[in-house]
């Protein structure tokens, strides 16, 4: 990492200074910091949640267990489900997740949150005008749909189980997982069926 003293922002200098002091004081090691950063880069993020969704779509008993207790994600080898609640979208019930106070996010299934989820605009508006927010994301709900907004104020984390799109009856579990986007699992999008799906791309 090279530093250009003309360009380096103060916050980067401060970070490096802090890390060097903490290392010298024996409070942490550079190796531990680097290893953690590598872990973040290796994390597959929302692909974890997509597998959970696909499994719930094909296996009704798993879905029942999952909705009862998020720790069912352990069946897919995913840790951390003890603090996870999965909420199910239905034709007349649409769920959406936010953390108005900071940025709490279902990291165990979605990885690190996108900047927009942590933005002041999303945090402030999701609880008071969710339909307007969804319209900005391109999702228009019918008037008879009830919107349930979950403000993640404790260590419990929420993931939306989106509705399975029509026309997917013949897809394998793996093909289904490839349709599921991060935005659908936050609740700001629906999952599109294979007719609309861009080949080889998991958007969001």
């Amino acid at each position: 990492m090279t530093y250009d003293p003309e360009q380096e922002p103060y916050v980067a200098l401060r970070t490096k200074a802090l890390e060097s002091l903490l290392i010298e004081k024996g409070l942490l090691s550079a190796e531990a910091v680097d290893e953690l950063i590598s872990e973040y880069e290796r994390d597959i993020g929302p692909l974890k949640g997509a597998r959970v969704v696909a499994r719930a779509w094909v296996d009704p008993d798993f879905k029942t267990r999952l909705l009862e207790d998020g720790s069912a994600i352990a069946e897919l080898g995913l840790p951390g489900g003890g603090n996870l609640v999965v909420v199910e979208n239905m034709p007349a019930e649409h769920h959406m997740v936010v953390c108005t106070l900071c940025s709490c996010y279902p990291w165990m299934v979605l990885g690190l949150p996108p900047t927009w989820y942590k933005s002041f605009a999303y945090r402030s508006r999701a609880v008071i005008e969710p339909r307007a927010v969804l319209r900005e994301f391109g999702l228009v709900l019918d008037e008879d749909v009830t919107v349930h907004v979950h403000d993640s104020s404790a260590e419990v984390r929420y993931m939306v189980l989106p509705e399975r799109p029509a026309g997917t009856e013949d897809l394998t579990e793996e093909q289904l997982a490839a349709l599921v986007t991060r935005d659908a699992m936050i609740g700001v999008a629906r999952v599109s069926g294979p007719v609309h799906h861009l080949q080889g791309v998991v958007p969001g």
Binding site: P9, L27, I37, L101, A121, S124, V127, A154, V156
Partner: protein, 220 residues
């Protein structure tokens, strides 16, 4: 505390800006900050509630203009300072050194500080819960300059218990080092009209996870 961080229902922040194919971190320092916070918490130097409270206590104008991970850095610094791991003079001096010596590399070192016992955010066994699913409750209308997870928009409001989450560490005391004091945690569902009156969108609810001491039984 009634800080600017308590944003639910605020107006004026405009459209939600989204970045296509956003990188995991926008600069190396962001990843470093995140990693340092996670390590510090895992080694028990401070707990997550103190960490959040540190962010909340930022100068409001700084909070509003700082990018996300700069808020993490601010709280990391504050908590390390308040727990006497380093002094602000040390940090200021070192930052100036780094500015004048951009070629300087991080030192090698071994971790010598003992790890304090990391906390579990979920606690067993469950103390007796005052409320059951379906109960009507009212949130307390309390405005203390302390850490809390009851947002302003949901104080003095009536809701229904939706789920029981077992006992969880109570952030209001844990953030200030006054003990974990685990309490039953509930998912409370509010009708949007209860929160926003006639300004509410139709057919909408907001659910919050709230500790027992935030709640009172609703009358009638």
């Amino acid at each position: 505390m009634n800080g600017v961080h308590d944003m639910g229902g605020m107006h004026g922040f405009g459209p939600i800006v989204r970045e296509e194919n956003e990188p995991l971190f926008h600069a190396p320092w962001e990843a470093q900050v995140r990693a340092m916070v996670v390590i510090a918490r895992s080694r028990g130097y401070f707990n997550i509630d103190a960490f959040r409270f540190g962010i909340e206590r930022m100068d409001p104008a700084h909070y509003l203009r700082a990018p996300y991970f700069e808020r993490w850095l601010a709280s990391l610094e504050r908590n390390l300072l308040e727990h006497s791991f380093l002094t602000s003079d040390e940090l200021d001096d070192r930052t100036e050194y780094v500015r004048r010596h951009p070629e300087a590399t991080l030192p090698r070192g071994v971790v010598t500080a003992p790890a304090r016992e990391a906390q579990d955010e979920s606690v067993e066994p469950l103390p007796a819960s005052q409320f059951a699913v379906g109960d009507a409750v009212v949130t307390r209308n309390v405005h203390l300059p302390e850490h809390t997870r009851l947002p302003r928009y949901a104080r003095g409001k009536r809701g229904i218990v939706q789920r029981l989450h077992g006992a969880q560490i109570f952030p209001d005391t844990n953030a200030r080092g006054l003990g974990e004091n685990p309490q039953p945690l509930y998912s409370i569902c509010f009708d949007a009209r209860e929160l926003w009156g006639n300004s509410a969108e139709p057919r909408q609810t907001v659910s919050l996870d709230l500790w027992e001491s935030y709640l009172e039984p609703a009358s009638g």
